[in-house]
């Protein structure tokens, strides 16, 4: 997508998400559908995913577009009535019978479920009535996540390519990592604004080197994540997406720690918006695997293959 075209898209999506965010996930979904989200996802997946997820993260907004991204990567046509069974929290294996469902659980008629039958990967669409749902309140109830258990046999399952699930995990991780990048940027902007405004000992605290270095540290973590997102878009595969998601988890921890410290007392209250971004990034870290789990899995792979691939070239 041309840069000018992308700017127009960012503005339109950003406006819609900011306008509808307070009304909840269904309103954001509807606004995005109205902007042609599914068509964009089909025609320009790279920019569509980056733009929408980044903006969701930046505004701590909820939507169920992750379902469309994963459904589409599994080779099924996405639509507003179809949710997908995501892996269990902190995991990335095909969920079989138990996993997570997004806020779309409230409105969807059916859920796409992927599991293994022996060596084969299979997908089936089950009616929502066959799925036992339990809202996850946890640290971030606004995110609308549910745990889900799928009842009954799934005789109508269709066979998937062996790589289909890996592809879905990769694109899902890329999307969530982009969302976390958006949230990280907002956390840093909140802390930066506070540091410039808050006066102690006769100076804005932004003038103290200890504060400046914390914010610099947060910025470096975000820029490292951004570079990894670009690498994952330029060379899309399981490994680049995994590393982007791991770096998103790490960046979120670094950014949240430093920004919360700089925000001091006000960041410890729910009057200030910081807590929403902290909690959202904490929750998102476990979707498709946490940084620590991914880093361990990647390290094991390097040890088994005894190779250290460079992944991207000039």
């Amino acid at each position: 997508m041309e840069a000018a075209e992308r700017e127009v898209l960012d503005a339109a999506v950003g406006d819609a998400i900011r306008r509808e965010a307070a009304k909840g996930g269904a309103a954001v979904d509807e606004a995005l559908m109205g902007l042609g989200w599914l068509e964009m996802l089909h025609a320009e997946p790279r920019d569509a995913i980056d733009c929408v997820f980044r903006s969701l993260g930046a505004n701590a907004a909820v939507a169920s577009v992750l379902d469309d991204v994963v459904v589409s990567a599994l080779g099924t046509k996405p639509h507003a009535d179809l949710a997908v069974l995501l892996p269990r929290y902190g995991e990335w294996d095909p969920p079989e019978t138990d996993g997570l469902v997004s806020a779309r659980a409230a409105t969807a008629g059916a859920v796409l479920v992927v599991g293994r039958a022996g060596a084969e990967l299979r997908a089936s669409t089950v009616p929502i009535s066959a799925v036992e749902l339990c809202p996850v309140r946890g640290i971030d109830p606004d995110a609308g996540l549910c745990t889900a258990h799928v009842h009954g046999d799934r005789a109508a399952a269709t066979r998937l390519d062996a790589e289909a699930w890996d592809a879905a995990v990769a694109v899902g991780r890329r999307a969530v990592a982009g969302q976390m990048a958006g949230a990280c940027r907002t956390m840093l902007e909140l802390a930066r604004a506070h540091a410039l405004e808050r006066v102690q000992f006769g100076h804005p605290i932004a003038r103290f080197q200890a504060v400046r270095h914390r914010l610099a540290e947060a910025f470096v973590a975000i820029e490292a994540l951004e570079a990894a997102l670009t690498a994952a878009d330029d060379e899309p595969n399981l490994m680049t997406a995994a590393l982007a998601k791991a770096l998103a988890g790490r960046a979120a921890r670094t950014v949240a720690t430093h920004c919360q410290q700089v925000l001091g007392g006000v960041g410890f209250t729910t009057d200030h918006p910081f807590h929403r971004f902290l909690k959202r990034t904490m929750l998102l870290e476990g979707v498709f695997g946490s940084a620590d789990e991914i880093v361990g899995a990647v390290g094991r792979r390097l040890l088994v293959t005894r190779e250290v691939p460079t992944l991207i070239e000039l």
Binding site: L196, A216, F219, G296
Partner: protein, 381 residues
Amino acid sequence: MQVAEFRTQLHAWLDAHHAELAPRVSLPGTLDERVAQMQRVKSLLFDAGWMRYGWPERVGGLGGSPMLRTELGAALAARDLADPGLFSLIEVLAPTLIDFASPALAAEVVPKLLSGAELWCQGFSEPGTGSDLSSLRCRAVPDGDPRTASAWLIRGQKVWTSLAQYSDRCVLLTRTGPPDSRHRGITAFLVDMHAPGVAVAPLEMINGEREFAEVYFDDVRVPADHMLGELDGGWTVAMNILPHERSSCFWQRIAYLYRRLERLVELAPEDDRAADVIGNAYVQLHALRSRSRTTQHRLAAGATLGAETSIDKVLVADAEQATYDAVRRLLPGVVETDDSTEGEGWRIEYLYSRAATIYGGTAEVQRNIIARRLLDLGSEA
């Protein structure tokens, strides 16, 4: 030639000529041996043309994108054919001559540097001048009127000058303005290291090697046509190095770090702790490589690199130290007690990696720059 095509052909050639190019001794070898190896490899690569890609034709190059020479440096590092820290000095020396020397001087001397016929060094840091480069004091005075003098006399001291004891020439920053003129009163020269009055005293580093030296200039006479850039324009010359240092040099260092991590992966135990430690170093290297790649693509597209390369600098230092921290954790006792050739190599490199947060602008200076210039936090208290 396109970068990808160049890479393919280069690697094919390096495969075919491995026997000629390979080091004559087991690595790490002594610094003397590594310098000799590098110069021998440069000479072979220059004769075969590879060393000339990415450099302008007017200095003996074959033209093409500077990324071609970055690929060459990375390939040599990844194959252990040349020490990337030493080899990439070309990237901070040749561009200075190309951009700031008279065309005749550049055409005369740059081919000697590229072909390995000569070795050069960079005289920037001084005993009282570490991160604060603009406070340098080494003086250059004109032999007569500054506008018409045929020569300048240089008096002062430099330190941390890499490979000074092997060098034929030095790109030197001198004070030509009043002592307090900061960045406004600095002038660059290309100085003959064999000239009377130059004395070199190598410094033993923490790892036992003598890569750096103190260099003393005692009224060393330099022809006026060896001035680089304008009189009092040395700060521009110094700043011009940054984009090269933080693109090509970093990419070569990164290639080498992947190579070292790969060696560690061959030696490490196959357990969960090793997986975490290796994974940690790898994810940092990937972030760094991704960042460096975008920086070089911006440079190739015509962008002027500036303060944002402080991000690259922070990432390269952290990734380098993470890599060697991983070595120390997963090969217990090797850095401390292993007297084999390989143990010696890990020890030298582990200790060297501690400097990654110090040289080229300390980690603290980079964060100051990020806060001031990139986050726009205003001046410090």
